[in-house]
């Protein structure tokens, strides 16, 4: 089991950020690695169990299923059904926590998955640095107060 944990501080209130993040079909609007996305079967994007089918800018296709969505604690958990990455049992959580001191947000993006031992380091790096930190950096650019 590989665990990846990435966290950051974004200078925007949690409810503003959450409006973007809670849209399970909204990755292309803020994540720089994602080209397009659709929800399979015409389900609403906040229906737990719905599947987002999206294409990366590098061409890879990924299907992910929404497992938990909580507006109460600003948290979203999903699992990978299909991807070219070669991971199994992949479960990830993206969570916001308001920082009362200054009206900012603490963001955490974590994942657990299995993969061949030879690829653990590479995949932990790709996911932690490329996907998660890359997403945080994009959110900072879009949301941080000017």
């Amino acid at each position: 089991m590989v665990k990846v944990y990435t966290s950051s501080v974004i200078d925007a209130p949690a409810d503003r950020l959450w409006a973007a993040i809670r849209d399970f079909n909204g990755l292309p609007k803020w994540h720089p690695l994602i080209r397009d996305s659709r929800i399979e079967g015409n389900l609403p994007a906040d229906r737990v169990g719905c599947i987002r089918n999206f294409n990366m800018k590098d061409g890879g296709n990924i299907r992910e299923q929404l497992v938990t969505l909580s507006d109460y604690d600003y948290s979203c958990t999903y699992t990978i059904l299909e991807s070219p990455m070669g991971v199994s049992n992949y479960v990830a959580t993206l969570k916001l926590t308001p920082i009362t001191d200054g009206g900012r947000s603490f963001v955490e993006w974590s994942a657990e998955f299995d993969c061949p031992p030879a690829r653990e380091t590479e995949l932990a790096g790709t996911i932690g640095t490329g996907v998660f930190q890359g997403g945080f950096d994009a959110l900072k650019r879009q949301f941080a107060r000017r």
Binding site: K3, T6, S8, I99, T100, G103, G128, R145
Partner: protein, 495 residues
């Protein structure tokens, strides 16, 4: 029920902040509202159930009890037992989390309580501002940080997070240093410092350290592993304090263990390369890991990779009651092999038998080659594992079957005479002289080895007997016992 929740960001690494906050009696040193504090009944400040009794700057006395403390989560929970203000059923939790893209800390402080009717708002404000926010501001100034007003003045742009310099500080600690090569008396307890981790490195707080015979060789200089003055020790378990750039798959706060060169485990803290350090599963405890990493990984490569031992094999294990010997016996039996072992006395024969050795032979009373011939009806053993060396090597060859494999993985009794390899044709024998570092030299190999090792520990196939526990500073005595062959099973040190 009133709920209060406040949070902030401290411009310092999470473990630096946790070191201050985890001390339940330490608030007198940092919280401006607390004038003095003590723990009742002489208990330790990290003992669950302890009560801190403290006086506020305005004279009021409070008593609060520690309910929960977790170094793994960097969190504690406490309740109020007595207070001059009506905070009824007050339970509060402090929790720290790392901000991984910059050496910062997220600090969350929340509580719930009841109040007399009509006082909810006033008391919630008092707790939130005068206790939590005031505490935040005090810790911030400890780290040289200005308090920030809740205003949009602060700019956070991508990639511009300034480190505060706190992470660049070495951590002071203590450990055992060898002054020169020699007997156990050369081990000295001294002040050390663990530098901040560089690229590919991490810093560990050790919780348990393993003793191995190689530590004696490092101390005497028989193997030139450490240049005096230096710290010896090959294996340990602990918690990651912080990581340097380019470290993936391990993070601060993880429980980890390692068994690798270079030595340096006999210390409270240590900074080292991260690639051979593995995260510990929740069901493998620190002491077990510290006791079993080096010996267990050795057993793994000896039984699975130097030779693939399987169903029906007959193997001979020298020193079958010793550290690696016990593991070889247990694991080989689980793989379906018949295990014959040599031991020094009857007590050790009993120990070997209890660990899966079907035929323990007391070598001082019986000729082991003869006994092997009896047991195998003249066939000999498929594999002989020999770390005794000079005194046993050629006799081990005599105990081999045709096309048998003699695995020489140490020389406790002294260097082995040069061998005549042509003579080995008489049995088509194979000889291996494996070196731990060549089997456990990369992150991928170590992860694969420990996956297999943790699996057999979890399934109870390997039982790790920790027979001796010492304070780290008393390691010299443990070295004496090990060299005098007074120990059985594993010895660990607690820093």
């Amino acid at each position: 029920m009133v709920k209060v929740r406040r949070s902030t960001i401290i411009e310092a690494p999470v473990d630096e902040v946790w070191r201050i906050l985890r001390d339940f009696n330490g608030h007198e040193r940092w919280h401006p509202a607390v004038a003095e504090s003590r723990i009742e009944e002489g208990r330790q400040a990290d003992e669950i159930g302890c009560v801190r009794r403290f006086r506020l700057a305005d004279g009021g006395i409070l008593r609060e009890q520690l309910l929960r403390l977790s170094d793994r989560e960097r969190s504690f929970t406490y309740c109020i037992l007595e207070a001059p203000i009506p905070l009824i059923d007050y339970v509060a939790t402090v929790r720290l989390k790392p901000v991984t893209d910059g050496q910062r800390t997220f600090w969350d402080w929340q509580s719930s309580f009841r109040t007399p009717a009509g006082e909810e708002k006033a008391l919630a404000g008092l707790v939130g501002e005068q206790i939590y926010q005031a505490g935040f501001d005090a810790i911030k100034s400890t780290f040289g940080q200005q308090s920030i007003a809740p205003a949009p003045a602060r700019r956070t742009s991508a990639g511009s997070i300034a480190a505060t310099g706190v992470a660049d500080r070495p951590m002071e600690c203590q450990g055992l240093v060898i002054e020169r090569y020699g007997g156990p008396e050369v081990l000295h307890w001294e002040r050390l410092s663990a530098p901040p981790p560089g690229p590919g490195e991490l810093r560990i707080r050790h919780t348990a350290i393993g003793l191995n015979y190689i530590d004696v060789y490092a101390r005497t200089g028989y193997y030139p592993l450490v240049d005096p003055p230096g710290v010896i020790g090959m294996e340990a378990a602990g918690v990651v304090v912080d990581i340097g750039p380019a470290v993936h798959g391990i993070m601060a706060g993880d429980r980890v263990a390692y068994a690798c060169n270079p030595p340096g485990a006999y210390a409270e803290y240590r900074t080292m390369q991260a690639d051979l350090v593995v995260p510990l599963p929740d069901d493998i405890d620190d002491e077990t890991a510290a006791a079993v990493m080096l010996k267990g990984m050795s057993a793994e490569f000896l039984l699975h990779r130097v030779h693939r031992v399987g169903e029906g094999d007959v193997i001979l294990v020298h020193a079958a009651a010793g550290g690696v010997g016990q593991l070889l016996c247990q694991w080989a039996r689980a793989l379906g092999a018949t295990v014959i072992g040599t031991v020094g006395n009857l007590e050790k024969a009993r120990i070997a038998r209890a660990h899966g050795c079907a035929y323990p032979i007391v070598y001082s009373e019986e000729d082991f080659v003869e006994r092997v011939n009896q047991i195998t009806e003249g066939r000999g053993c498929d594999v002989v594992y020999d770390a005794v060396g000079r005194d046993s090597f050629m006799r081990s060859y005599d105990a081999l079957a045709l096309r048998g494999h003699l695995v020489s993985y140490g020389q406790a009794s002294g260097p082995i005479e040069p061998i005549d390899i042509a003579a080995f044709a008489a049995k088509s024998a194979r000889v291996s002289r494996p070196n731990f570092g060549h089997y456990a030299g990369t992150s991928v190999e170590v992860r694969a080895m420990t996956d297999r090792l943790f699996d057999v520990l979890r399934r109870g196939i390997l039982a790790v007997g920790i027979s001796q526990r010492h304070a780290l500073r008393d390691a010299a005595q443990a070295h004496r016992d090990l060299e005098a062959r007074r120990t059985t099973g594993s010895t660990i040190f607690i820093p």
